[in-house]
């Protein structure tokens, strides 16, 4: 029952995300129902930032399946050399890997099947299960995310619970969030004496 509800919900979210394609960064949605804890509704929204607007609109306009990376990337991702070969670099010109030290593309991506992810060489996974892949290393965060201590909630406080997936906030290639200027600077000490003067 819960799965059906969340499925419908995710479908709605998916539609709404594609509708708002021109609002800033592109968003590709996905759904996950926690396999560990079926009693808790965990719907998630995957939102990988795609900085290139043309890429985003092309995906949205012509190929609703944003996960089919092979459409752009082509075959032939091969180990550590993949980023050094000219033709590979052309395909990944905007990817710079700033994750854990020593990581390569193949730690996560299946070399011969760019549309899939690889769980530390164990098995192939669709992109919709990217969270499981992240959780292999970041098990604490995964635990917190499933429980409710980590991740950005998108619905109200009551059921259902819809939260962003890992890639909804973190760029998998460079997961650290960027610094930026804060907003709404407070006024600590209003200058009353002066204000009363006039």
């Amino acid at each position: 029952m819960i799965r059906i509800v969340t499925g419908i919900l995710a479908a709605l979210l998916l539609v709404s995300c594609f509708e708002s394609e021109h609002n800033g960064t592109g968003i590709g949605p996905a759904l996950l129902v926690s396999p560990d804890d079926a009693s808790r509704t965990v719907a998630t929204l995957d939102a990988v930032p795609v900085p290139d607007a043309t890429f985003e609109s092309w995906v949205a306009g012509h190929n609703p399946d944003a996960r089919a990376c092979r459409n752009c990337h082509g075959p032939g991702m091969t180990g550590r050399t993949s980023r050094t070969l000219p033709e590979q670099r052309a395909a990944h010109w905007q990817v710079s890997l700033v994750h854990a030290p020593g990581m390569t593309c193949r730690d996560c991506h299946v070399a011969q099947d760019p549309g899939s992810l690889e769980l530390l060489g164990e098995s192939k996974l669709g992109f919709e299960f990217a969270n499981e892949l992240c959780g292999k290393c970041h098990s604490d965060q995964r635990q917190d995310w499933l429980g409710g201590a980590h991740g950005k909630r998108l619905t109200g406080w009551a059921e259902p619970r819809v939260i962003k997936t890992c890639a909804g906030c973190h760029n998998p290639h460079s997961p650290a969030l960027e610094t930026r200027m804060p907003v709404a600077q407070p006024t600590i000490a209003p200058d009353r004496a002066k204000k009363a003067g006039h």
Partner: protein
Amino acid sequence: MFSFFKDGIVVATTGGRAYHLWMGALSLVMIVGGYAYSVQFREGLVVTGMTDHVSWGLYISNFTFLVGLAAAAVMIVLPAYVLQDVDFSRAVLVGEGVAVSALVMCLAFVTADMGGPTRLWHMMPGIGYFNFPQSMLTWDVLVLNGYLALNLLIPMYVLYQHYHGRQPRRNLYVPFVFLSVFWAFGIHLVTAFLYAGLTARPYWNTSLLGPRFLASAFAAGPSFIIVSLVMIRRFTEYKIKDETLHKLGLIVTVAAQINLVMLASELFKEFYWPTHHSLSARYLFFGLHGHNALTGWIWTAIGLNVAMTAILTIHPLRRKVKVLVPAATVLFFAIWIEKGMGLVVPGFIPSPLGEIVEYAPTAIELLVSAGILALGLFVFTVLAKVAVAIETGQIGKGPTGEH
């Protein structure tokens, strides 16, 4: 009854040139204060120096000090009425006059501090909601108004009887005198509890606050009465014996000594091992992170306090009226600083979240405060003048039997 009030009004509105000058000056200050208040009423409390960090300032400081002044009247009420101390009985009416005028000022200061003075009826039981007994402020409302009533009724009864040449009936008024004695302790303790009950403000949240309030009040109040008595003695026919002043001087001295002992114990506690809770005291006495608006004031106050207490402690000096009067005056102002601004403002600095925002009163605040003080002096002068006129037989039949 009618002639009692009529004669009273006549006495209050007639007088020499100095009297009219004095009352005229007070009226002028009151008018200016009233105008300043109208500005505050229109614009809001934004015209004061108060902020969300220091949310009480000069008004509540004065209120706190003046509650003490009012409470101190008891120091002569008790011996005069109950112990029938002859020396005090002449001063007691003045003491009660001080209490009444101090209470008038208290109520005016609190009203001036309200954000919504037009909504004060919300506090009235029956048509509003009186959060009693939870809120210490409701206790304060009760005790202040009750004390005001007592201090109006008792002397009014005594004066009324004297006016008609009758001896006031002791069994009629002495029970109220007893009540007012306890009540006086009550008003000042309750006012202290108003602060001491706030765990959010460690500077106030001390069990010593109540006793310290009482000690400083019993130093400042009689000091004021000493000065008033000397004034009355000088400007009217009312005889005040030196002995009365000496007794009052002794009260002032003892209270000032106790106050200093408590100050010392408080300073020891705050600074022997300063904690997080000592930050307000550090701000007050030494400044905090370069903010030190009050350090000059407090050291002045403490310096004067210590010096005057020392002078008053020496018997031959205290017994000279020429020394007693200036010493009492200086002590009065020293306690005003210490207990007014020195108590209220540092409680807010730093804020509970550690932010330091300083406070300085604005011109509007100073003018409103001056206006209220003038109002108090005005009320006191009228009361004292009428009382003296009755007691000296200038109007009515004059007191009989006593002294």
